[in-house]
Each structure stands twice: as structure tokens, then as C-alpha cells.
Amino acid sequence: MRIRSLTSRIVVFFTSLLALVLVATFVLVSVANLRISRQNAAHELVTGERIFRRLLEQQGQQLTQAVSALATDYGFRQAIGTGDTDTIASALANHGGRIKADLVMLSRLDNTIQADTLKPERVGKSYPFVDLLAKAGERGGASGIERIDGKLYQLVVVPIKAPIVIGWVTMGFEINDEIAADLKALAGLQVSFLGRNQGGWNLLASTLPPAQRIALNGTLSDRQMAGRLALEEEDYEIRLAKLADTPEGPIHALLARSLKEAMAPFYALQGTLVVLALVAIVVFLLAGIRIASRITGPLRDLAGVAERIQQGDYQQTPATQDTREIAQLAGSLAHMQTAIAEREAEITKLAFQDPLTGLPNRVRFNQLLDEAIARAREHDDSLTVLLINLDRFQQINDTLGHPTGDRVLALVGERLREAVRFEDQVARLSGDEYAVLLPGVQVGQSLSTLERIHRTFDRRFELGGRTLDVRAGMGAAGFPEHGQNATDLLRCADMAMYRAKRSGEPQMLYDPGMQSFREEHLSLLGDLQQAVERNELTLYYQPKVSLADGRADEAEALVRWIHPDKGFIPPGEFIPFAEQTGYIREVTRWVLAHAIAQAGQWVAADHPIKISVNLSTRDLLDPGLPDQVAALLAQHAMPAQYLCLEITESGLMEDPSRALDVLNRLRALGLSLAIDDYGTGYSSLAYIRRLPVTELKIDRAFVIELAHNDGDAQIVQSTIDLGHRLGLKVVAEGVEDQPTVAILARMGCDRIQGYVFGKPMPADAFVRWQQEHAASPA
């Protein structure tokens, strides 16, 4: 839709309305006037005919009187009464000439022509206009219209008295165009005299212009008495009036009213109307524009105010308005301006601030970083970005609840803030991820800051009487050496942090080599897929030796990858990566298939070994896993009692009910279930009691220092005791020396896994080791 200004809408609407009314008026007036004009023309013709007839009559009377006066002239009568034929003829001509008669005739009482100035040869013949004569006899004089030789005459017949009637004098006055013109001047109509005889109609005299006269002659026919006639493109309203019957045929007068003339006043009125209408429209237009601008002027002002508000100017005072509605609008606009300013401040705060910690959020941090980069570039300066990610924060949230998690996040924010300089910026980017901007610090010099931050995590977090040990991984990247913009710098810092966490370092500076490392990982996924398909993976077995009888009839199956090009790839390089990508399920399936096949072989060889296989979080959420395991067991004729599946606490946390369902179904197969890395998580034994597990594996972290750390010893002792109380078998991992073996034996630990007995080794090596172990003294 076209957008137009209010002014033009108002003006156009009302002007159109006016124009419409004017046009309607004009049309109505025109139609009415046209009809009235037509009727007037017709009426004028009726009146005109009456006037015309009266004029003819008067003319006849005047002529009759004039001729009568002549006929009573003594000399004339004397000439007629006493003269000879020639005298009489000359007297007739003389007296006829006095009143400009075109013909003079003298007839005797016996109706014979005695003299005739027009046609002398008729003398002695009978008088032709007997009807007229009869009328004259009755009235002492008469006039009438007659046709003689194709010409029209008004004839006047009067008696000649001496003193009694001795004869009749007839005078004729030709009715020609001149006479018609006189009549037209008096009657106001075009006059044409038409004669009709055996040959049809002919035009005898007329006031019409020559061209129309010819046209009329062409159209003459037995026409109606009234109506319309077009002659040479001029329209006439006409009326046919019969004037006389002559021996040759009737004489008519065709009276015509020019419609052009009749309509002239109408057209003049129309012209006036048009001029009036135009003037009205112009006046209306000007007035409309003026009034509309009175309305739209203030609106435009307010629109300008609104526009400036849109541009962020909230300090305006709309001009005072004299129109109430506009004034209200202006007031509303002013209020709105204030409200918008307040709300915008709020929104800005929300948009750029993390509500939990009060720190800038990711958006704000990116802005700050951009600004800092711009400043640094301008002053040829450097800056460093630190990225900090809390370890296992998800577990805190899951086990201790979100309120606790939020407290931890807020405390971390506070400690970070305290650990950096005033000019440094601390931000919370997302979940458990923080960033620190160190302006003016070269990345190489940032180690001191990193150290300081690291030390803040040494202090445990006190939360509602509970003490939490929170750790974090940190990465650092610097401008200008690592990236030219915020995105690149953050990505580099993220990569450094990732590497730090992977490698177990507390912090790491970005190194361009990391980029290729990461890319290497990506290609590794393809390689891993190939490895599974091509059986490049292999299983190593680490013995789990029983402390009760020294038997090594259990082992943990651990996957190893011998890359065709890169050689041995440690599990820490590809297992977390496979977990991230979801490919771990394929790996687990491969491991299960091969481990069960191997165990099946050993059972078949009457040399059964109980095999443990690690399950990842994703495996626990796969409802198809129990059926797959059952199918593998059946396929390799392997009794379920020789299979143990190890799960981690964190593996259970993702979707506990679903994981529990899978676990129950696995347990129902008759196999054993072990909790791996026990002690690193936050799950209590009470929670574990609800799981269908049969075995606890104490994390190596507690075992390493067992001989030298009383705290750890207490933890291990109580874990073993509680485990036994729950009916669980307790296994210690990462045992490296005999003293620790002794302590664990004393504590009542059931089995031990570690270098102290044997590294993970291929299946055949494991069988040889087992035979040697069995032979060695326990």
C-alpha cells in the first residue's frame, strides 16, 4: 500500500467529496436544464406559431386597410368607374406601386378579370381566387396567402365602391425572404414557407442560411408536425403550421427554433457552474491544506520527537500544543520517552550483565574485548584473554542441586574478581565458563596472573557447612600474537584451556601447534571408524588379583589402538574424544564383542577368566545394550557370571532412571556390575546401595598416597567397610607397591589391580603371565 501524508489524505478526501457533490449537482442541473430547455424550445414554438399567425393576420389587416384606403381614393375610383381599359390598367399599376404591391388585379362583379398587372393575358378570364373574394364580399375586404407561378403572395381583396361596389381590386404582396426575415425578427423563430403540390414539397421562402436551406430542401417530405430536425449540423426544434389551402395545394410555415440558441442560456449557466465549481474546489483545496496542516503540523513535530526517541535521544521536551488531542499525545510521548529510557537502561543491564554473578556476560565481554583490541591496536599494545572452566561442575549441580551450583558460580566470580587487577575485566561467559581480560599484558607475562587464579581454587568452598573442592582448567591467548579479533582470541584461549584439561595441567598458554592438534583429532575420528571396521583395535587385559587366595582369575579388558601410521595411540587420546562424538558406542560394542569372544574361548578351554568391560555414559543410556550383551553371551556360549561391566558415578547422573533401568536388565542377565573410579564423585554409598551393583572400585587417587596419607587411608578403610556392609566386593585400582598391597589386605580389600601385579597385556601374554603367577609363591 502506498503511504501518503495525512495532509494529502484529508485534502484529497474532502476535495474529492466536494468534487463528487459538484459533479452530481452539475449533472442533475444539466439534465434538468437540458430537459427544460428542450421543453422551452417546444413551448416557444407553440407560442411562436401563435405569434406568427397573429403577425400574418395583422399584416393582412394592415395591407387590407392600406389597400382599402387606396381603393377609396376618389381619383382611383373615378379612373376605374369611368376610364377605359388602358386608363384602368395604368391606375392599377400606379396605385399598386404606392403601397409596393407586387401585383394588382381588377375583377368585375361577374368575377371576370378586367385588369391584371402581373399577367395581362388573363384579362377577360374568370377570377381565380373566388374563396378570397367570397370572404371579402362578406367582410368588405379579405387577405389570404396564395401561390402564383411558384411564388408566394399575400393577397388582399377589397371592393371598389362608386359608391356601391362596382368591382374588386386584388393586390398581391410577395412573401419572400425579406418578409420571412421580418417575421423572424418579430416571432424570434426561423421561418420557412413550404408549398405542397402534386410534385411534392418545395421551399418558397426562408430565413435559413443558404446551406441549411439546401439541406432542408433535400429533407422535405411528408414530415410530422413537430419534432427535431438537423440541418447542416445545426439542431432545430420544428413545428409545421398550415397557413392556407390553395388550388395548387396547401401552404405551410415551418417554424424552427435553433437548439443552439435555445440552449445558449443553459450553456452559459453551465459555464458559470463550472467556474463556480472550480473556484469552490480551489478555495476548498487551500482551506483544506491550511486546516490539515494545523492538524498534521503538530503531528509532524511529534513524529520528529518520536523519531529522535527511536534514535536514542530521551531528553526531548515536545512543544506545547493548543489542540487537546495533540496535547494528550505529546504528553503521552513525553511519558513514553521517560519509560523507554528507564526500560532501556534495565534491558541494557540485563543484556550485558550476568545476573548471577553481576559480572559482564558474553556479549558485554565481546564488546569489551573488541574495544580493548581496538585500543591495543591503536597504541601498539598487547592484551591477554584467559578462559577458565570449572572441572566437573555438572556433578556439583546434579548431586548438590542448582542453588548450590549457583552459589559456587557466584563465589568463583567473586574470587576471580579479587584475583585480578582493577583494570582487568572478569566475565561469566556461560554455565561454568569465565573469561578474564588483561589489558596491556603480554600473554607470556600472564603466568603470574594464572598462578594467582589457580591459588584461589586451593581454598575450599564453604557452602552451608559443606566443604567443596572446586578445580578449574585455564587457557590463555594473547593479542596480537594469537589472533586479531575477539572471536579468534577466544577460540585460541578455549583451545589452550581444552588442552590443559585434557592433559591434566591447571593452565596452558595457547600455542599455534594446538590448532594442528585439534585438526589431528578430527582426522582421528575417521581413523577410529576405520580402526573399528578393520579391527585395528586390540584388547589388553590387566589382572585383578584376589587378596584372599592370590588367584588372578579376573581381568579388566582395556582397549588399545595400534594406528597403522602413528603407532600406539593411548586411550586418553581417543576415548574422551569418542565419548564426545558419540562414537564410543561403536567402540564399546567392539570391545564387548571381542572381550566376550575371548572370555568364551577361555571358558571353552576350561580356563575361565572373569572379564571386566568399561561402559561409557552413552552406553548406559542405550536400552538396546542388555539385549546385545545377552546375544553376545549366547553366541559365544559364555556364562554371564564371567562378565563384569564397570560404570562411573558420573555415567549414572545424566539420566538416572533410564540408566538404572539398563543396569537392572543387565544385572538380570546374571553378570556383575562395578562402580568404577569410586570416590571422585559426590555420590554417597546410600545412593549406591539402590543400584544393582556388586562391586566397588576405589579410585587410584585414594590408593596412590594410601601409605603416606592418613586421610586417604581413612576414606579407603571406611569405603571398604561400608562396601562390605552393603554386600559389595571392593577392588582397589592403581596399586603400585607391596606396602600398599599389605595395607589394603589389612583393610580387608577383596582384590587389587595395578602394576604391582601386572600391566595390561595382550590375551596370549596375559595367559602366560597367569601361568607364571599361579606358579609363583603367593
Binding site: 369611368t82 359608391p163 361596389v165
Partner: protein, 206 residues
């Protein structure tokens, strides 16, 4: 006046002529209604008519000729005394005696002598309605009918005559009657005449 004078003349004549016959003529219209002012006269066929009284007066009274109908013998001098206090202009275009008495008042010095027989219509040039009819006959024996339609020609000598009647308004002339007057012969005759009075020729008050 005329009616009174003429019998006396005839009486005088009859005393000279021993054989004299009084002739009576009755004139009626077709319906038998008596017509007055009809001229009746007898023209002798056997002898020359003698001269009678050869003078006559036609008055103009109140813008009218009096009388309307006149009959005189050839050679009669007629005088036109004007009794009105306005002037008249008497004229006639009739062939027996065209004349024109210019505007005058009183009695013109010389009367007009009508020396040819025939009909004469008299008019006044300034009063178109004034008209008088005059029949000039070649006989002294004439009379006009009275209100009873009776005319008397006095005593006529015995002999043959042509008896005629005339009126200016007559539609057509009544046939003349040949009569023989003598002892024992009929002396009363009847005529029937159709009159068509002329259309009123105007009002003489304008």
C-alpha cells in the same frame, strides 16, 4: 310631394286627352309581401313620349341622400340641396351622367341635367356610405310603390306600352309587360320582384 304632384299633372293631361286610362301596378316579393320604393314606369311603344315635369330634387339630410330611390324623365335637371351643416361632394361615375359636384354647402347654383336614360348611382366623396339610386327613363309615366306596394301611373293615353319595374336591389330585372290600354282594357298589373339588399356598407356615424 312627388306622389302628390304627379297625379295632379296627370289630371291636367287627362283633361286634354279624352281617352285616358289610370294604370295601377302592384309589386310584391315572391312571398306576396308588398314592396315599396319600387320604380314602375310605362314606355309608350306606339307614340313618342311627351315631356313631363323635368325637375327633381335630391336632398342631403343627416348625411344621407333623400330619397334613396329616384326616377326622372330624360332631360330632367336635378338639384342637390344640402340640408346638413357640413359639406358634401356629390358625384357619379355612372355612364349616363358622370359628374362631380365639388364640396359645397347649401344648394348648388346650377342643377345637374340628366340627358341620357339609364341608371345612375350617386355618392358623396367624403361620406362613403351616402348613396342614392336614380333611374332615368324616357317617359313621363312613372311612379314608386307605396307602403302597400302600389304605384299609379296616372291616366295614360290609349295605346301600347311596355310596363317595367326597377329597384336598385333587385336580384334580376322583372320581365317587362307589354300592355294595351284602351277602353275596356285592364288597367291594373302586378309584378313580382326579388330583392337582395346590399351588405350594410358601413356605419355613417364614423
Amino acid at each position: 310631394m312627388m306622389q302628390g304632384g304627379l297625379p295632379r299633372l296627370l289630371m291636367a293631361l287627362s283633361s286634354l286627352c279624352t281617352l285616358a286610362v289610370p294604370v295601377e301596378i302592384q309589386v310584391q316579393d315572391a312571398a306576396g309581401k308588398p314592396l315599396d320604393e319600387v320604380v314602375a314606369y310605362a314606355e309608350p311603344l306606339s307614340a313618342k313620349a311627351p315631356k313631363g315635369k323635368l325637375s327633381h330634387i335630391i336632398d342631403q339630410v343627416d348625411k344621407e341622400f333623400v330619397p334613396l330611390v329616384n326616377v326622372v324623365q330624360v332631360g330632367t335637371a336635378i338639384s342637390f340641396p344640402n340640408k346638413d351643416n357640413i359639406r358634401h361632394n356629390i358625384y357619379s361615375f355612372s355612364p349616363p351622367k358622370p359628374f362631380d359636384l365639388k364640396l359645397y354647402s347649401g344648394t348648388p347654383s346650377s342643377p345637374v341635367v340628366f340627358d341620357k336614360p339609364g341608371q345612375v348611382v350617386l355618392g358623396c366623396n367624403i361620406h362613403d356610405w351616402m348613396v342614392s339610386y336614380l333611374l332615368i327613363v324616357d317617359t313621363p309615366w312613372f311612379d314608386k310603390t307605396d307602403a302597400r306596394g302600389m304605384a299609379r301611373l296616372g291616366d295614360l293615353p290609349a295605346g301600347e306600352y311596355e310596363l317595367k319595374v326597377w329597384h336598385p336591389y333587385q336580384a334580376s330585372a322583372a320581365p317587362a309587360q307589354k300592355i294595351k290600354l284602351g277602353a275596356g282594357a285592364a288597367s291594373a298589373f302586378a309584378f313580382r320582384l326579388k330583392l337582395t339588399p346590399p351588405p350594410a356598407s358601413g356605419n355613417h356615424n364614423y
